[in-house]
Symmetry: C2
Subunit: 299 residues, 2 copies
Amino acid sequence: MDIKKYLQEKKEIVDKALENYLPNRTEKSGEAGFPTSLRKAIQHSLFSGGKRIRPILSVAAFEAVGGKGDKILPFACGLEMIHTYSLIHDDLPAIDNDDYRRGKPTCHKVFGEAIGILAGDGLLTKAFELMTKPSSGDLAVILDIVNEIARASGISGMVGGQVADIESEGKEVDFPTVEYIHTHKTGALILASVRTGVKLGRGDDETLKAFTRYGERIGLAFQIVDDILNVEGKAELLGKSTGSDLFKRKATYPSLLGLEESRRRATELMESAIDLLNPFGPEVEPLKEIARFIILRES
Amino acid sequence: MDIKKYLQEKKEIVDKALENYLPNRTEKSGEAGFPTSLRKAIQHSLFSGGKRIRPILSVAAFEAVGGKGDKILPFACGLEMIHTYSLIHDDLPAIDNDDYRRGKPTCHKVFGEAIGILAGDGLLTKAFELMTKPSSGDLAVILDIVNEIARASGISGMVGGQVADIESEGKEVDFPTVEYIHTHKTGALILASVRTGVKLGRGDDETLKAFTRYGERIGLAFQIVDDILNVEGKAELLGKSTGSDLFKRKATYPSLLGLEESRRRATELMESAIDLLNPFGPEVEPLKEIARFIILRES
């Protein structure tokens, strides 16, 4: 299969759904509108050329277990909104203080810190509004999915990992701490994306178990590759400065294990993730190719 | 009825539930824990002597329509978590830059801005985790409630109102803008609290309609009284500095209509909210007393 074409096609579906879900009413007062600046700030960050890995993983897992139709899209888009809010907040001066993201000025650089904070808050809340809207289908499954996504994004997931990341800056940290940061800051939401697709597509328990182990491995591999790219990636491809982890003395795989060993581990994780899917048929091919793409990407 | 005793009893129930819902595992790495600093920051803000008006409103409305038992508590506590996150983010230097809240240093003053931002994010996400956990009961009603709370808290509700508030600082604004700010920044979540109780308690459509109009009125009255207290309240009772709205040239009822007219309108809203409940029996007495309390409070 042509993975680039697959990713492009799915990205277009996700982008179109995101545009559809974000209200474009712009009245400043009265009725159901909301301030123009807030809409602009959200759109600036949401449509800035993201790869849409999380929503595409949820769609690919949904279709791999036989799911059909569009009902995955509210969850796919919710996952991307949560990811985007986390980037907006991470970029803030008080946290990572980044001026560029995907080759564009970060949200707070364009709209100011106050709007940056509130655009993030708005996107996170919008994700939950969107994901709780479906009123048909198996409502117990929907509630369970939203609950899992909340857990993966919150204090015991992404937010917890981000706090541990900040607190580890400039300190000597051990390997379990780096692993905690990676599996929580990045891994938890990637895993939740895969599991969302399986659950909504009504995959059986055995499938959920195998896909969960796949999701854990690619989630960790994804963050290791991110760390490697921060050291040796090309800034013009990444759209942001490199070397910042080293400068901030962040706890990363390369800083603890070196580049070569980090690359080896990421490749090993990718291969074992693919092996876990071997018992399944051709319907899991996109998930295998996404695992390869995560390792081979240059941005 | 003794409203002070009623509020105290309900507050104790809400406080106990909140303590129960917030995980106290504190491992920094591995397992299901999350960083200690995050837990401390969340607890600092969540247990700092709030009046718990929103959760108590949801409980009072739930019981007024015949709801029984504890199943309102996840929603009551979710509403309070969302309210608390909004206070933490509003207090940040980039937004209102407040050093004190309820007589204590604000979250970011104690734990730093980064943890302040992430504690807010964590609380907001925790609210949705908590509210989507119930797996029994009428799941369609639960999804509908969570969806309404998300809408009330987000870009078309509280976050939208907060952005409009910030953007109005130092400007001449008209009355519809001030009303937009008040009904969205504060009113939306208060209204959602009342409606949550009615929906979960299975009040009929007529009741929901009447309670909605009650909720709209007390939500607006609450913010008008807040604005009045900012002008003439006692700082030692409020636990925060007064006069800050004037200093920041915020768009408020007193700045547009004067103190006397603002007081008159708040009282009128309270009286008409109470009138709306007159067709109901003694079970709505707590809601009537809460309306009076909102107007008469000194903090």
